[in-house]
C-alpha cells in the first residue's frame, strides 16, 4: 500500500522553526528550513540529524522548498546547506530569492557581531547557499526529477510568499506556508485551484480567531494618525523592516495623497531601502491596485515618505516616523520613543504583537513609568495605541482555503496545540475531512489509494461511446476489452486488436445446450411455437424463423429435433457463442420453463 509520511522537525504544534519532512511515493522533500526566535542554543535550528545520522543529506532529500523569506521559514538554510551539508536543489520564488539573503545577513550580523557567537554561518556561506537556489514562477510546474514536480501558488502574506504543490504521479501534497485570505494594501489574497491533493499541510496561527473587517482597522489607524498630526503631535510607528511596514507605508502614502497632506513621513533607513527596491521590482506579486497603476506611478516610489535622519527627531512640528525594531526593545525606535514620550500630544502606534519584557509590551499593558538603564525613570505621557495588522489567515480563511483545494486529508502546523485542537475538530465536523496535528518529531502516515493509469485505445472508446445513449460523466461504466501489460505500462484495447498484436488466432467458443420439451407435435410446429413464444417475450431482440425450421435470436441458434426413442418429447438444441453468454443463458432458462400451452 503506498503512503505519504509527514514528520515536522519544527512548527509541529508550535510557531517558529518551520521545517517539515514529507515522503511521498519514495521521494523525500523538506518544506521550509526556519529558525526559532525564542532560543539561542541548538534548539533554534531544526534537528537535522533526524534525517540521517552519518550519511550525506543530499542522498536522503530530493529537494528543499522555501515558502517565503521570513526567518522562521528560511533562517536555518545556510546552516543546513553549508554546515550540515546539502547540495541538492533549493526551490523558492524570485522575490524570496532576492530578499532572503538580506535578512539572513542581518540575522548573522546580530548573532555574530552583537552577541558574539562563534560557530555561526558566515557571509560567504550565505552566498554559497543562495547559489543552490532555483527560482520558480507562480503556477510554473517545475520538474525536480522525472517523477517529482512542484508548482507554486500565490499566498499573500508577504511579498513572494507562495504555497507549493508537490506531486509524484497521482499523489500530491500542498504545503501552504504562511498565507492570507484577505487582501491588504499591497498584496492580494491567497488563491489555489481545485487541485484535490491527498494532503493539505496548512498553517494555523489564528486557528481560533475570526477577524473583523480590515477596513475598520485601517480607518481607525488613519484617523488616529491624522488627528494627532493635525494637532501638531508626532507619531512613532515601530515596525520590523519588511512586510507590515510596507503595507503601512502604502496606507499612509495613499492617505496623504488623497487628503493632500503635507506633514513629513520618515522611514528609518537600514535594510529597508534595499528591500523597498525589490518591492518596486516585483510588481506582479502585489495586489490589483498596484499592478494596475504602476505604469503611471509605482506605488512603492513613495512621494511623501523620506529617509529618516537622527537629527530629524528634534525638529519641531508634526511628523510621522516609522522606525525599527518593532517591539521598542532597542535601536532607533527606542531612541525616538525616549525623546517623544514626554509630550502628551505625541503618539506611538504598535502595529503588531510584542513579546513580554520589551518596552513595547510594558507600555501596551498600561505602564506609565518605565525604568531605563542607568536607573533613569521615563514618564510616558504620549498616547499609546495598538493596531493589529496581521497577515495570516483566520479560522474562516483556513476553512475557505481547505474548501477551495478540496483535499482528502488536512495536516495542521505552525500554531499552538490548543488552538489546533479546535480547528481540527471543526474541519472534521464541517468538511468531513480527516485532520492531523503531529508534534515535532512525530510521524503521520497516510495510506493513499494507488491509482494506476491505463491507456485506452481510441477505437474502443469511440465504440463504447456510440453504444451508450446518454453521456453520464463521473459514473463508472462497464466496458469489454483486453488489458495488455507490457513494459510496465497498461493498455486497454479491443479483443480483436489484442489478438492481432499478440499474433494469435481467434477461437470460437460455442456453448450448446439441450432442452427437453414435452410436445407431441411435429418438429416444425414445435419450432414455430418456440418462435412465437420468443417473439412475444423478447421484443427488443431480433427473432427470426429460418426456412430450414430453426429459430435464431440475434446470433443464437435454436433447433428442434425429435429423439427417436420418445415421440412425446422434443429436444431443443440451443447454441450460442461466448460473447452472447448472457442472452444465451437467459434463453435456456426461459425455455426450460416450458412453452405456454398453445391455444389449440
Amino acid at each position: 500500500m503506498p503512503e505519504i509520511r509527514v514528520t515536522p522537525l519544527g512548527a509541529g504544534q508550535d510557531v517558529g522553526r518551520s521545517c517539515i519532512l514529507v515522503s511521498i511515493a519514495g521521494k523525500n522533500v523538506m518544506l521550509d528550513c526556519g529558525m526559532h526566535m525564542g532560543f539561542n542554543d541548538d534548539r533554534r535550528f531544526p534537528d537535522f540529524s533526524y534525517i540521517t545520522q552519518n550519511g550525506r543529506l543530499t542522498d536522503f532529500l530530493d529537494c528543499v522548498i522555501i515558502s517565503h523569506f521570513h526567518l522562521d521559514h528560511c533562517g536555518a538554510l545556510p546552516y543546513f546547506s553549508e554546515m550540515v551539508g546539502y547540495d541538492g536543489p533549493i526551490y523558492m520564488t524570485h522575490p524570496t530569492q532576492a530578499i532572503c539573503p538580506i535578512l539572513l545577513e542581518d540575522y548573522r550580523k546580530i548573532a555574530v557581531d552583537k552577541k558574539g557567537e562563534a560557530n555561526f554561518f558566515t557571509s560567504q556561506m550565505i552566498k554559497d547557499c543562495m547559489k543552490k537556489v532555483v527560482a520558480v514562477h507562480l503556477h510554473q510546474t517545475v520538474q525536480v526529477d522525472d517523477e517529482l514536480e512542484i508548482k507554486a501558488y500565490y499566498a499573500g502574506h508577504v511579498l513572494g510568499a507562495a504555497m507549493f504543490q508537490i506531486k509524484v504521479g497521482s499523489e500530491s501534497v500542498v504545503y501552504t506556508g504562511d498565507y492570507n485570505m484577505t487582501p491588504d494594501r499591497h498584496l492580494g489574497a491567497a488563491w489555489i485551484d481545485k487541485c484535490r491533493p491527498n494532503l493539505l499541510i496548512t498553517e494555523s496561527t489564528y486557528a481560533t480567531t475570526i477577524r473583523d473587517s480590515k477596513r475598520c482597522r485601517e480607518r481607525d489607524f488613519l484617523k488616529k494618525v491624522h488627528e494627532t498630526v493635525e494637532h501638531g503631535g508626532k507619531v512613532l510607528i515601530p515596525v520590523f523592516a519588511l512586510g507590515r511596514a510596507q503595507e503601512l507605508c502604502i496606507l499612509l502614502e495613499t492617505f496623504w495623497e488623497r487628503m493632500n497632506l503635507k506633514v513629513p513621513i520618515y522611514f528609518s533607513t537600514g535594510l529597508t531601502e534595499k528591500a523597498n527596491h525589490y518591492y518596486k521590482l516585483f510588481i506582479p506579486w502585489t495586489n490589483q491596485k498596484i499592478r494596475k497603476t504602476f505604469v503611471q506611478r509605482n506605488m512603492f516610489e513613495f512621494k511623501h515618505i523620506k529617509a529618516f535622519d537622527r537629527a530629524f527627531a528634534d525638529n519641531p512640528g508634526p511628523m510621522v516616523v516609522f522606525a525599527t525594531p518593532g517591539m521598542l526593545h532597542a535601536g532607533q525606535s527606542l531612541q525616538i520613543f525616549r525623546k517623544w514620550a514626554g509630550n502628551e500630544k505625541n503618539m506611538v502606534i504598535m502595529p503588531g504583537y510584542c513579546v513580554q519584557g520589551t518596552v513595547g509590551h510594558k507600555i501596551l499593558s498600561g505602564q506609565r513609568k518605565l525604568e531605563m538603564e542607568g536607573r533613569q525613570v521615563l514618564e510616558v505621557k504620549m498616547q499609546v495605541e495598538y493596531m493589529s495588522f496581521s497577515a495570516h489567515a483566520d479560522a474562516k480563511g483556513i476553512m475557505q482555503l481547505v474548501g477551495q483545494a478540496e483535499p482528502e486529508n488536512v495536516l495542521l502546523v505552525h500554531g499552538e496545540a490548543k488552538k489546533m485542537e479546535f480547528l481540527k475538530q471543526k474541519i472534521e465536523q464541517e468538511l468531513r475531512v480527516s485532520c492531523y496535528m503531529p508534534a515535532n518529531g512525530e510521524t503521520v502516515t497516510l495510506p493513499t489509494s494507488l491509482s494506476i493509469p491505463v491507456g485506452i485505445s481510441l477505437g474502443l472508446l469511440k465504440r463504447e461511446m456510440a453504444q451508450g445513449l446518454l453521456p453520464e460523466a463521473k459514473k463508472p461504466r462497464l466496458l469489454h476489452g483486453t488489458l495488455i501489460m507490457k513494459d510496465s505500462n497498461f493498455r486497454l484495447v479491443s479483443s480483436e486488436q489484442a489478438l492481432k498484436e499478440l499474433g494469435l488466432a481467434e477461437h470460437q467458443l460455442r456453448f450448446t445446450c439441450r432442452v427437453h420439451l414435452h410436445d407431441t407435435r411435429k418438429e416444425q410446429e414445435t419450432a414455430l411455437r418456440v418462435y412465437s413464444h420468443l417473439k412475444s417475450i423478447l421484443k427488443e431482440h431480433c427473432v427470426q424463423h429460418l426456412p430450414d425450421g430453426s429459430v435464431t435470436v440475434e446470433s443464437i441458434l435454436i433447433q428442434a429435433a425429435a429423439p427417436s426413442e420418445d415421440p412425446g418429447t422434443k429436444v431443443l438444441l440451443v447454441s450460442w457463442t461466448y460473447q452472447d453468454e448472457e442472452l444465451g443463458s437467459f434463453l435456456t432458462s426461459l425455455l426450460k420453463k416450458g412453452l405456454p400451452q398453445a391455444p389449440s
Binding site: 494594501r185 481545485k194 480567531t209 488613519l222 495598538y386 474562516k396 460523466a473
Partner: protein
Amino acid sequence: MAAHLKKRVYEEFTKVVQQQQEEIATKKLRLTKPSKSAALHIDLCKATSPADALQYLLQFARKPVEAESVEGVVRILLEHYYKENDPSVRLKIASLLGLLSKTTGFSPDCIMDDAINILQNEKSHQVLAQLLDTLLAIGTKLPENQAIQMRLVDVACQHLTDTSHGVRNKCLQLLGNLGSLEKSVTKDAEGLATRDVQKIIGDYFSDQDPRVRTAAIKAMLQLHERGLKLHQTIYNQACKLLSDDYEQVRSAAVQLIWVVSQLYPESIVPIPSSNEEIRLVDDAFGKICHMVSDGSWVVRVQAAKLLGSMEQVSSHFLEQTLDKKLMSDLRRKRTAHERAKELYSSGEFSSGRKWGDDAPKEEVDTGAVNLIESGACGAFVHGLEDEMYEVRIAAVEALCMLAQSSPSFAEKCLDFLVDMFNDEIEEVRLQSIHTMRKISNNITLREDQLDTVLAVLEDSSRDIREALHELLCCTNVSTKEGIHLALVELLKNLTKYPTDRDSIWKCLKFLGSRHPTLVLPLVPELLSTHPFFDTAEPDMDDPAYIAVLVLIFNAAKTCPTMPALFSDHTFRHYAYLRDSLSHLVPALRLPGRKLVSSAVSPSIISQEDPSQQFLQQSLERVYSLQHLDPQGAQELLEFTIRDLQRLGELQSELAGVADFSATYLRCQLLLIKALQEKLWNVAAPLYLKQSDLASAAAKQIMEETYKMEFMYSGVENKQVVIIHHMRLQAKALQLIVTARTTRGLDPLFGMCEKFLQEVDFFQRYFITDLPHLQDSFVDKLLDLMPRLMTSKPAEVVKILQTTLRQSAFLHLPLPEQIHKASATIIEPAGESDNPLRFTSGLVVALDVDATLEHVQDPQNTVKVQVLYPDGQAQMIHPKPADFRNPGPGRHRLITQVYLSHTAWTEPCQVEVRLLLSYNSSARIPKCPWMEGGEVSPQVETSIEGTIPFSKPVKVYIMPKPARR
C-alpha cells in the same frame, strides 16, 4: 412662336437631366447584380486549390449582396459545397450561407432543405457546427414558421450525441433559441413539447465537457428569455452545478438559479440533512451568497451582482449577509461596528482606544461555532473586502438595490457603506457615496458615522468631494452636534479647496432647510461666539461667512423664532445675500420689515396661469397679422417680441417658450422689413448699396433659424418644419437680393438650381407635414414647381418675389416642453488683474469650469472657443470624460484649455466662451430610402456651424519672450 421655342428649350433641358439619371441607374444595376453570383461562380470554378477557393470566398464575403441576388448566390455556393473536399472551404461556405440567410428581405426557407441535407452527409465536426449555426440563423429569421422550427429542433436533437463539443454546443444553442413555443397546437401537446426540450437540455447539464455544460445552461436561460416557463425541477440540477470545477459553468449556474428563484420565489424546498423547509428564494439567496466567496472572481462578480436584484428574500436572510461572528482565541468578540455603536449609545463617543479595549469577552462554546456558514452569512462582508475591485463595486451596487427596498437593511448596511468610503480605488469610493445618497431617505446617520463620512471631504479628488456634497444635501442628521460637525468640516473643506464654494453653499442650503430645529440652538454660536467669527461685523465677502449664513437663513425659513436671534448686521447681510445669491437664500418673513419677497412667494403659484394665458393671447394676436397693413404688422410684431422677452425674464418656467416664439417672430419681422424695402421698386442698377439691409436680414434669419433648431431641447418635428420653412424663405430672399444686385446670369443660374433643389429636399423630408402648410410660401411654390423648373432664372426670381410677398405667415405650434440651452462659465471668473504669465511658444493650462443646462449630447456638441486679441480664434473639443452629469438636464464641464501665443509686450485679455456646434443633417428625420447605406445627397447640403451660448469670459494673459 416664342412659346413654342421656349417649350423646345425646356424639353431639351428636361430630357438631358432624365437621361443622366437613367444612365446612372442602369450602370449601377449592371455593375452589381449579375456580377455577384456569376463572378463568384467563375471564381470558384477557376480555383485550383482549396486555398484559392478560400481566398475567393473571403473576398466575396467582404461585399454586401442584395436581397434579390441572394438566392442565386446560395445555389452556386451549395453546388460548390457538394463538390468540395476540403473541410475548411466547406466551413467557409457554410458560414457564408448563414450570413446570406440573414440578409434583410430574403426568405431563407428555400435553402433550409439543402442545409439539412448537407448536414446529414457531413463528416467534419467543425463544418457540422458551422452548419448548425447556419440553421440557427435560418430558424431565427423565420420565427413564425412552426413546421420549420420543429424540424430544426429535431435535427438538433439528432446531433446532440455527436462526439465533438462544438457540435453539441451548437445543438444546444439551437434548442435554446428555437425550442418549441407553439401557439397553434393544443395545450397538451404544447406542454409535452416544452417539457421535452427542457428535459433534453437538462440532461446535458451533466455532460463531460464543461463547454457543453455551459452551453446547456445558456440554452436554458435562452428559453427563459424567450418566455418559456422553466420547471422548478431544474433548480436542483442547477444547484449541483454550483460546485462544478469550471468557472464558466458556475457563473452560468448562478444565473440559472437566480432565474428560477425569480420564477418560483414562494415554493418550498427542503434543507438537506434536516427536516426543515424554506422558501426557494431564500434558499437560492443563500446559495448565491455562498458563491460570493468562490475561487474565481468572474463568478464572484456575477453572484454579487445578482444578489442585488433578489428583493423577495426574507429580511432574516438579508440581514445575515452583514453578519460575521468574531472570535479571538475562542472567545466571542464584538466587531468594531458594534463597539462604535455601543460607545455612541453610552455617550462617550470618540474616546481613544485603549490596549485591550477590543479584548474578547465571553467564552465561546466550541461546539456551537460554525466556521462555514451554509447560508447567507457574511456574504457582503466578504464581497466588500474582496481583492478585485470589480467584485467590490458589484457588492456595493447590490447593497444599494437591496437597501432601497428594505429600510431596516439600509440601516444595517450603513456601517459597511461608510467603511467603503476609504477604499483604495476611487471608483469604489465614488460608487459607495452615490449608493449612500440613493438610500439616504431610509437612514439617519449616527454621529460617529457622520464623522467618517465627513473625513472624506478632504479627499483631493473633486468628484469625490462633490458627490459627498450631494450626499450631505439629502442626509438626515440626528443631533445638533452632527450639524455642527458637518459645518465645521465643510468650512475646512472650503478653506482647503476654495473652488468648491458653490457646491458647499448649495449643500449647506439643503442641510439648513432639512434640519431647522437642530440649527436653532447653534445660531448664537455660529453668528457671534464662534471662535472663527468673533469680529463685530464679519466680512461680507468671506465665503465661509456666507456659508454659515446660507445654513442659518435656510433653517430660518421654517423656523420663525430664529430671526429673533439675529443681530442688526445679520439683517443687512440678509438683504444683500437675498439679492446677490437669490438661489441660495430663501425669502424670509422677518419681523418689522416689509419685504417684497414675502409677497412674491405666494404669487408665484397664482400667477402662473395668467402668464401662460398672456403668452397664448399675445401669440394668437400675432397670427392675425395677415390682415394688417405692413406698417401695423411691423408694430404688432415689435410689441409682441418685447412682451415675450420681458415675460421670459420674469417667469423662468416660461422662458424657453417665450424666447423660442420671440425668435420666430423676430425672423418674421426681419422678413417683413426686408420685403418692405424700397429697393424692390427701384430699377436694378440703382440700389446696389441699399441692398445691404435685405441681405443682412436674410443672413440674420438664417442664423436665428439655426439657433431655433439646435439651441432648444424639446423641439419636435412640427416645429422643425416651420423652422426649415422660415429658412427656405430666407434663402429665397437671398436669391432675390443677389439676382437684383449682380449682373450676368451665370452665378444666378447655379443659385436657382440650388434653390430648387432645396425646395425639392424640403418636400421630400417633410412630405407628411405638407398638408399643415396651407397657403404658405412652400405650398404656393410647390404648386408652381413645374413652371419654375422650366423657367429661366430671371423668371424664377420674379415668381419667388411675388410668392414671398403673398405667402401667409405660418402659425408656430408651441412644443410642450422647451428649454433653451444655456451655459455659465464659473471659472475662470474673469476678475483677476494678475495676468497669467507663461513663456511664449510654450503652453499654459487654463482650468475651465462651466455648468450647462438643457444641452443634449454635450460630449459632441459643446466646444470651447478662445479668441486672442489679434482676432485669432481657437476651437477646443473637450474630452468626453470632462463632462459630468450631476442631474437631469444639467451637465458640468470641467476641463483644461491650453493657451499659447507668441510673445507680447503687454498683458492682454483673451476671451473664452462656449460654443454649441450643430450639424444640420442630424435633425432631419430619416426617410426609409436613406437607410440603405448609400451615401445620401443630404451630406453635401448639411451645414455645420456653431452658436455661441455662453457669456464670454476675459482672461488676462501674458506670454513672455523666452529667455535665452
